[in-house]
Symmetry: C2
Subunit: 171 residues, 2 copies
């Protein structure tokens, strides 16, 4: 079997195993979809990483989250949370404050301006999601999730003692 997904990169030989092909198919698909999303978000001056961080902070509510906790919740591993938050703060999308009772941690909170940029980006996200996977039925999507859910990967994420937090929301 050779998937259509791989034909345009001239990959036509047989694979040793379906699993090798699966990795390539997923890699290719995710790269393409991520590129589309990235291009969409760029209209609003957002990167995928920044968007992810803002979503996390919106979900965290008014208490905000410590930097390490933001890092731990990111979909993609980020080796430098500080400067990621720097950029968000520079845009006025978040604000930061060092905790009084534990001066090691810096809490980040999303600002009204940050909430606004997420609102502005929502139509782009919606249109992305209706485009991506539009060839699949919901049942098929659910079936893929069920199968992929068997694949557990221990994440390379940093651990972070979670402090208090209110709601959940991520990407």
């Amino acid at each position: 079997m050779v998937s259509k997904t791989l034909q345009h990169i001239k990959q036509t030989r047989e694979f040793d195993s379906p699993k090798q092909e699966l990795f390539l198919v997923m890699l290719r698909l995710v790269e393409n979809l991520s590129y589309d999303l990235e291009q969409s978000l760029k209209e609003k001056g957002l990167t995928q990483t920044q968007y992810n961080a803002l979503r996390i902070l919106r979900g965290a509510g008014p208490n905000g989250l410590p930097s390490c906790e933001v890092g731990a919740r990111m979909v993609k591993r980020v080796p430098d949370v500080t400067r990621l938050l720097d950029r968000l703060e520079k845009q006025g999308w978040i604000e930061r404050e060092r905790l009084e009772n534990n001066r090691r941690v810096v809490m980040s909170r999303i600002t009204p301006k940050g909430l606004q940029i997420l609102e502005d980006a929502q139509p782009l996200i919606d249109s992305f999601h209706t485009n991506a996977f539009h060839q699949l039925t919901e049942a098929q999507a659910a079936e893929i999730i069920r199968l992929l859910d068997m694949v557990t990967t221990e994440s390379p994420m940093p651990t972070c003692d979670e402090m208090q937090d209110s709601e959940e929301e991520t990407n």
Copy 2:
């Protein structure tokens, strides 16, 4: 439904649609697997991008390929093929030569040293592939491929008039 894959990023709320969740699950999984592969390849001084380019050039055979064709076959879009090939040449893994009959194109060929580094990396690749998706049966992997194959994305890759080439092989 909330997949296990997403629980450790504190994503516990219900999704609007399975497709949104599917995107996140795939994104997360590919990021984790790519990270593992990247760490493995680092032992040999290779990046995933460089490895991909070398595989392409090995598959192309002794004639080599023009830069734009390498760019077109990459799994991930690369906006600067020139400097990617620069780095490979600097390591002695490829050699380049400007075509006589069309002095616009520069052909890149893999060198014996380049073939050797691919040989050296093979055990790492093998061990990666046996680890990744080891929880799935081959039939399940094939089923996911079949479903994902319905999702066609028009690639953001540059087009390149393919010249002669001998064999096929990619990542």
